[in-house]
């Protein structure tokens, strides 16, 4: 890991040398600039948001501490080239005479979990820096201006501690299939991919299909084939005990922007530790033929000391959204549970023979 880290650092040294401490203005990229009047519209005169879109990007959700709000174009291009170089490097042949990987694990971290995951060619995490309003962004969060989620409230901290305690005392994490994460159970999204808010997962399949009528807007997230139906101009959310996956979404038009308010989130779909009073406001604005600027606001003063939010460019794509039917091939869940049982048997045998 260390030598890979060193290579990554070297690749980016020049970026740093050219200065992160630049004003936002110096990070201006050519503005899309298409006149709103030329944008495609539906029969009822609304901006046409329909089609297939991707929010894949190499810009992280949270801004690294100390980084400025935007890159210069040269910095952005260098980062993108660094990513492309990396893909190329990982596509190079391996030694055909290689032996098995190291006993005790290969040292990989994260989801690759010391066993190395799988080849890079399977993934498609995004290869471009996010551009919004002509700026090459260093984070998707833009409010507050430091690009980072505000502090938890006292109640938010207590809630996080209570949740950790509940996880600790309910049993081992492999003791029951329902103790496993929603994505692993093929139930919902990766992270907040389906949302709301709809955020990239930085792995693959960051694709959405939007279908729009006068009365409804449908958003299909490829991960994990999650469909959200937004009711246009509905007057009220359902009672508080009605809590569907992805919450209850009501939409309206403010000029040429689709505004969607979502509440009533499912109790198992907890966005970053939010409370059950979470309200998410999304704003979809088609700024040119190939771009929707997606803005989101997280309103949950029970959890965070202030509302916060961000901006994500959705890029139009001609590619298809494929079905992500997940249960059929989900051998991993069974392997994980049977692996835990096998290790329990092994431990019991050792104890007996002691």
């Amino acid at each position: 890991m260390l030598h890979r880290c060193t290579r990554a650092i070297r690749a980016l040294l020049v970026v740093l040398a050219t200065g992160w401490a630049l004003t936002p203005a110096s990070g201006q990229a050519p503005s899309p600039g298409t006149a709103a009047t030329t944008l495609p519209r539906t029969a009822d005169g609304r901006p046409d948001l329909q089609g297939t879109w991707s929010n894949a990007t190499i810009t992280p959700i949270d801004r690294p501490e100390g980084a400025p709000p935007v890159y210069t174009e040269a910095q952005a291009r260098r980062l993108e080239r660094g990513y492309a170089d990396r893909v190329e490097r990982l596509a190079q042949p391996s030694d055909p005479n290689r032996t098995a990987p190291p006993q005790g694990g290969d040292g990989s971290t994260g989801a690759a979990g010391n066993v190395g995951g799988y080849n890079n060619f399977w993934v498609d995490p995004g290869d471009r820096v996010a551009v919004v309003n002509g700026q090459y962004r260093t984070s998707l969060i833009v409010d507050p201006p430091n690009g980072r989620v505000p502090a938890l409230t006292d109640a938010g901290r207590r809630k996080a501690a209570a949740r950790a305690e509940q996880f600790r005392t309910r049993g081992g994490e492999y003791d029951h299939p329902e103790f496993r994460p929603l994505a692993e159970r093929c139930l919902m999204s990766f992270g907040s991919n389906a949302g709301p808010p709809m955020l990239p997962n930085y792995f693959y399949n960051n694709n959405y299909q939007i279908v729009q009528t006068k009365d409804h807007v449908m958003i299909l997230a490829e991960m994990v084939h999650d469909v959200r139906i937004i009711r246009m101009n509905a007057t009220a959310h359902p009672p508080a005990h009605i809590r569907p996956w992805m919450g209850d979404s009501i939409g309206r038009w403010e000029g040429d922007t689709l505004v969607v308010e979502t509440t009533n989130f499912h109790p198992l779909q907890v966005f970053r530790g939010a409370s059950d009073t979470l309200k998410v406001i999304e704003r979809f604005t088609r700024v040119d033929a190939d771009t929707i600027v997606y803005r989101f606001t997280i309103d949950d003063l029970d959890t965070w000391v202030a509302p916060w939010g961000g901006e994500v460019p959705f890029r139009r794509t001609d590619e298809q959204v494929f079905e992500y039917a997940c249960h059929e091939g989900n051998y991993a869940l069974a392997n994980i549970l049977s692996g835990a049982r096998a290790q329990e048997r092994e431990a019991a045998t050792k104890k007996q023979n002691r």
Binding site: C5, L16, E88, L90, P93, E323
Partner: protein
């Protein structure tokens, strides 16, 4: 400066891990104390979500065993025009990875899956050989195919 360098490094590696897994924690499924190197012919492909499984037959002494090797989502490859038919049954491959924690199963993660000359399987680009690396202006992401 050192801190900033580490930040950038962490960001880069977090965004694009060297060998990655997303749908589930691979460390929970596979045993770091059971490394394997498998060489043999593909006998079956399960081109399914959440993870593709490549079944291969290996020879162990006089016996033959069929192992299943876990890869990633087929959707990403489908968008590049690569389908399960891209890999022919009978093709000989080399896999290194780790066996499942349940050792009664002959399953492993496909940490590195290559042809016998070391080339990675599933490549496709007219540029550098890297898939969709952005270096070839004539390369488009829209390719025929897909099942």
């Amino acid at each position: 400066m050192r801190r900033t360098m580490l930040l950038v490094c962490a960001g880069v590696l977090a965004v694009a891990g060297v060998r990655v897994a997303a749908h589930h924690a691979f460390g929970a499924e596979f045993d770091p104390n059971a490394p394997v190197r498998l060489q043999g012919k593909i006998v079956r492909l399960e081109w399914v979500n959440p993870h593709t499984w490549i079944h291969m037959e290996i020879t162990k002494g006089d016996a033959k065993e069929v192992w299943a090797v876990e890869g990633g989502t087929p959707n990403t490859l489908l968008r590049r025009g690569l389908t399960r038919d891209t890999l022919t049954i009978g093709t000989e491959i080399i896999v290194d990875g780790y066996q499942t924690k349940d050792h009664s199963l002959k399953r492993a993660n496909g940490r590195d899956v290559t042809f016998t000359d070391g080339r990675k399987i599933f490549m496709g680009s007219s540029g550098t050989g890297a898939p969709r690396d952005g270096r070839d202006p004539t390369e488009t992401t829209k390719k025929p195919g897909g099942r």
